[in-house]
């Protein structure tokens, strides 16, 4: 009986997928129905996982603990909000949404698997599926030739890294797929073989996490993609990916490669620079925030380098806060709408604050959080990160991290300038109550975090 309870959450997701498929095959369903089914499945899954999930379940392939549960719960909440917001897009564009909902549920399933997986093969599989989902999202939503080209390039790059990771898996042999034993398997290996294995797993994660120099696809895909897909790529898989990367790093990569922290430092600094400069190169809002994302991922990687012994709370808190802020930002993006079109360029949103002061104000707060401005939650993200670096005497890294944040600021400022200071150019469409609701929710959450940052530790 316990076994059944334990898998109830997975079953809910699978039932959700099945429900969506049935609706597609046998019913004359609208977008609202698909989304409703998907959201019910997500809620049920989260509730069941929080109520019945036991830590012993799925061992040794999975390790369920408070952290994985919180990662799953947070990811589910994000997927829920994302789906709710995307519904309006599908309704207004009058496009089929069945596959979209299906893929969303699969992605959530993969995220769940990734967060808890203790087996490299399972991690590899989940990553591959997530890559496929990314590709499918891009491929299915392609509206321009540009997006077609980008999706093809993304697919090919993803294939390459899947291939490299596959080689690494092959070298490890099934015996070594268990994370706890993987490191022991490499004892006595030659340097080259070790590096190939490291390259396989490190690069596949770096690619998915958009860490420089493998960040190239991130801004490329987000900018031209339709808004729900862009939101998905920016928000949904990140937390689980980082959790999985943390596991792989601590149990496998870090023990087998002595100078991996130096490598992280290099890639981290590269990401920080690429993110900060990249955010300033475009007037496309999504590209700007993609740059911010790359910067944040770089910071987290640096914290990994600074805290090699355990999955640091600092980086965990940082990614959570980043995602919360980014969730707010993307919610605002859903409100940037004029005559039915979603606006994505700075030139288009001039004077938005005069039309929608609440939404614009919320956006300012989210950006303040991303910029690490006290007392916004983003501040303690960056504070913890810098403190972590300073505690280990990485003063130069600390300097670079905070210094690059300064380079990131002009990008935020030009958004503020456009939204708040420019004269109103156009009549913006009425903002949905849905958006107001979720904005208020996120703001309340942020306020809660400002007053009680301990909440982060609970998460």
């Amino acid at each position: 009986m316990d076994e059944i309870f334990n898998v109830l959450s997975l079953i809910s997701l699978l039932l959700g997928m099945l429900g969506v498929t049935i609706q597609r095959v046998w019913g004359e369903c609208s977008a609202k129905d698909y989304f409703f089914t998907a959201r019910v499945a997500i809620v049920a899954s989260v509730v069941f996982s929080l109520l019945f999930q036991e830590s012993a379940f799925g061992a040794p392939y999975f390790a369920i603990n408070e952290q994985t549960l919180s990662v799953y719960a947070l990811t589910s909440v994000m997927v829920y909000i994302w789906l709710s917001l995307s519904l309006k897009w599908f309704v207004s564009e009058n496009l089929p949404s069945c596959l979209f909902c299906f893929l969303a549920l699969v992605a959530l399933l993969c995220c769940r698997v990734l967060a808890a997986a203790q087996n490299l093969m399972i991690i590899f599989a989940a990553l591959a599926v997530l890559m496929l989902i990314n590709y499918l999202f891009l491929y299915l939503s392609q509206q321009t030739e540009e997006l077609h080209n980008i999706s093809s390039r993304y697919g090919l790059s993803a294939l390459l890294f899947v291939f490299v990771a596959g080689i690494a898996l092959y070298l490890l042999t099934p015996k070594g797929w268990n994370l706890a034993q993987a490191a022991d398997m490499t004892i006595g290996w030659g340097l080259f073989k070790t590096y190939v294995v490291v390259a396989g797993f490190l690069f596949v994660f770096m690619f998915m996490l958009a860490i420089a120099p493998l960040h190239f696809w991130f801004a490329d895909t987000i900018a031209p993609a339709v808004l729900p897909v862009a939101a998905y790529l920016s928000l949904v898989p990140q937390l689980s990916l980082w959790t999985a990367f943390g596991n792989v790093h601590h149990q496998f990569l870090q023990p087998i490669m002595n100078n991996i922290n130096d490598l992280y430092v290099l890639f981290g600094v590269l990401s920080i620079l690429a993110g900060a400069v990249g955010a300033n190169t475009s007037r496309n809002l999504r590209k700007i925030f993609a740059g911010c994302g790359v910067y944040c991922f770089g910071v987290i990687l640096l914290v990994f380098a600074a805290l090699p012994d355990k999955m640091p709370f600092d980086s965990h808190a940082y990614i959570q806060i980043y995602l919360l802020s980014m969730m707010g930002i993307y919610t605002v993006f859903y409100a940037f709408k004029c005559r039915g079109d979603y606006l994505y360029n700075l030139n288009m949103i001039g004077g938005f604050a005069r039309a929608r002061p609440f939404v614009a104000g919320a956006m300012l707060l989210f950006m303040a959080s991303l910029a690490g401005l006290a007392p916004m939650p983003g501040f303690y993200g960056i504070w913890f990160a810098l403190e972590g670096l300073a505690n280990r005497d990485f003063y130069v890294l600390m300097f670079v991290t905070a210094g690059c944040l300064m380079f990131l600021l002009p990008a935020y400022l030009q958004i503020v300038k456009a939204v708040c200071f420019m004269p109103r150019k156009d009549n913006f469409d009425r903002t949905d109550n849905n958006i107001y609701f979720y904005l208020t929710l996120i703001l309340a959450l942020m306020l809660g975090l400002i007053c009680k940052p301990q909440f982060l530790q609970m998460l």
Partner: protein, 474 residues
């Protein structure tokens, strides 16, 4: 009670700001309602500050520290306390902003936004000046630039571009302070609150000390108009057309000054302290530069800007003198100075606005504005150091200490004060010179009764501060 009052003083403007944001706009598009809310909030806070003064007592060193729990802060608390210096500055900033709000009445543009951020600015500055520990100090130091950035941006026109520069420039200062603060906390074995008054107990050594204290030093310097760092504020001042924003921006350098007051001279290592003479020279050179440029400029606001920053630098030189006895004099003088400066800003913006109706220059305009002329003349007399306000005697002490430390620097400082006084007086004469007025000019309006009453109250407060700086403490 004092602790709670301290927190209320900090938080009330923020709550007021929310009311301002929620207030209903008038039909004429002018946010009278918002302005009235702002005025009432600031007035209430001023009363609370006065109450704090009475709780503090003139002879005590500081209030009992008030805490605001915040887990992120090392030690888990944001801590605040007050002494005469900090309360005087907070009070004067409140009064300055209040005068700014009164000056805003007939300005156009996005007033509600400006008023909201002015309230936020008051909240943040109060937090900054009442901060008891290093972390709280840093948090409010950084935050201060946000409302100012928004206010400058709301001014429109060139203000948008300038606002970005302003923010970036000040963010670099905040970045340097962040580096130093993180480094200091990293040295602590356990997360504990580092009180500013105990900061001298932190023992740093060698290059690390230079790294940390240079960061602190530069962070404060960047807030002050010391050459070549003065450009950010001069470029901002030339584009601002809103008196409240102009007032707020010109209050900003006090944060740097206050930082030096709190950190100087006890804690800086010898390596940095050795650079003080160089920095003093830089200060007086900037004062000279400002005096010359104020003298040569024709714009009213340019002159006012030069005057204001010459005095800030004078206080800075006072802070650098190796004595602690000046703190109180600086507080009293700064109080009077801020009142004078904000009063002058109010009148100057009115004159500027009315002079746009004139075909030529603004010369002679005060002949048509008797109330403005009277207020302007008295405020200038107070501003240039005539014995009608606390500026006079306290500046005398400050100058005497600077002279005591270095006669050359002190003499140049007095010379620049003289030049500032001369160009302000000349300006006053020009504005009152009837011969410059052309016949048949458009109707020129005097300041309204409300603003005249405000300036009269300012004059009375100034005069009372001349007789007894803490006349309001019972």
């Amino acid at each position: 009670m004092a602790e709670y009052l301290l927190l209320i003083v900090i938080l009330l403007p923020f709550i007021g700001g929310l009311f301002v944001a929620a207030s209903h706009n008038g039909d004429d598009g002018v946010s009278r309602n918002a302005a009235n809310v702002a005025v009432w909030v600031v007035c209430c806070n001023i009363l609370l500050i006065l109450k704090l003064f009475s709780l503090l007592g003139v002879d005590q060193n500081g209030l009992q520290t008030a805490y605001l729990p915040w887990v992120v802060a090392p030690g888990g608390l944001l801590s605040f306390c007050a002494d005469i210096l900090s309360l005087m500055i907070v009070l004067s900033i409140h009064i300055a902003v209040l005068i700014g709000v009164f000056s805003l009445r007939d300005s156009c543009g996005s007033q509600k936004g400006v008023l909201f951020f002015s309230q936020l600015f008051l909240c943040i500055t109060s937090g900054f000046f009442l901060a008891a520990d290093l972390f709280t100090f840093y948090v409010f130091f950084v935050l201060m630039i946000v409302p100012l950035f928004m206010q400058i941006g709301f001014c429109g026109g060139a203000g948008r571009k300038t606002a970005t520069r302003f923010f970036l420039y000040n963010a670099w200062g905040a970045f340097l302070l962040l580096m130093s603060v993180v480094a200091i906390y990293a040295l602590q074995d356990q997360k504990a609150t580092i009180y500013i008054e105990n900061i001298s107990e932190i023992k740093l050594s060698g290059n690390f000390a230079i790294f940390v204290w240079s960061g602190v030093f530069l962070a404060f310097v960047l807030r002050l108009p010391v050459w070549p760092f003065h450009y950010w504020i001069s470029s901002v001042n030339t584009v601002i057309k809103n008196p409240l924003v102009f007032t707020s921006v010109n209050l900003m350098p006090i944060s740097g000054l206050y930082g030096f007051i709190r950190f100087w001279p006890a804690v800086l290592p010898e390596e940095i302290a050795a650079l003080v003479p160089v920095f003093e020279v830089l200060c007086v050179m900037t004062m000279l530069y400002l005096a010359f440029s104020g003298y040569s400029s024709t714009g009213l606001r340019d002159k006012l800007f030069s005057y204001i920053f010459i005095y800030y630098l004078l206080y800075l030189l006072g802070v650098f003198s190796p004595t602690d006895v000046l703190k109180q004099n600086i507080a009293y003088s700064l109080f009077a100075f801020l009142l004078v400066a904000s009063g002058l800003i109010m009148i100057v913006f009115h004159i500027d606005k009315e002079s746009e109706k004139l075909q030529n220059s603004a010369n002679g305009i005060l002949c048509l504005q008797p109330k403005a002329a009277f207020s302007y003349a008295i405020l200038i007399l107070a501003g240039v150091g005539f014995p009608v306000s606390a500026l006079f005697w306290n500046n005398f002490v400050i100058v005497s200490e600077i002279l005591n430390t270095n006669v050359g620097i002190g003499s140049i400082a007095v010379f620049t004060m003289l030049l500032a006084a001369i160009f302000l007086l000349q300006n006053l004469y020009d504005l009152r010179d009837k011969s410059c007025m052309l016949p048949g000019q458009e109707k020129i309006y005097d300041i309204d009764n409300l603003r005249f009453v405000v300036s009269t109250i300012v004059m009375i407060v100034l005069f009372l501060s001349f007789i007894k700086p803490l006349w309001f403490v019972y």
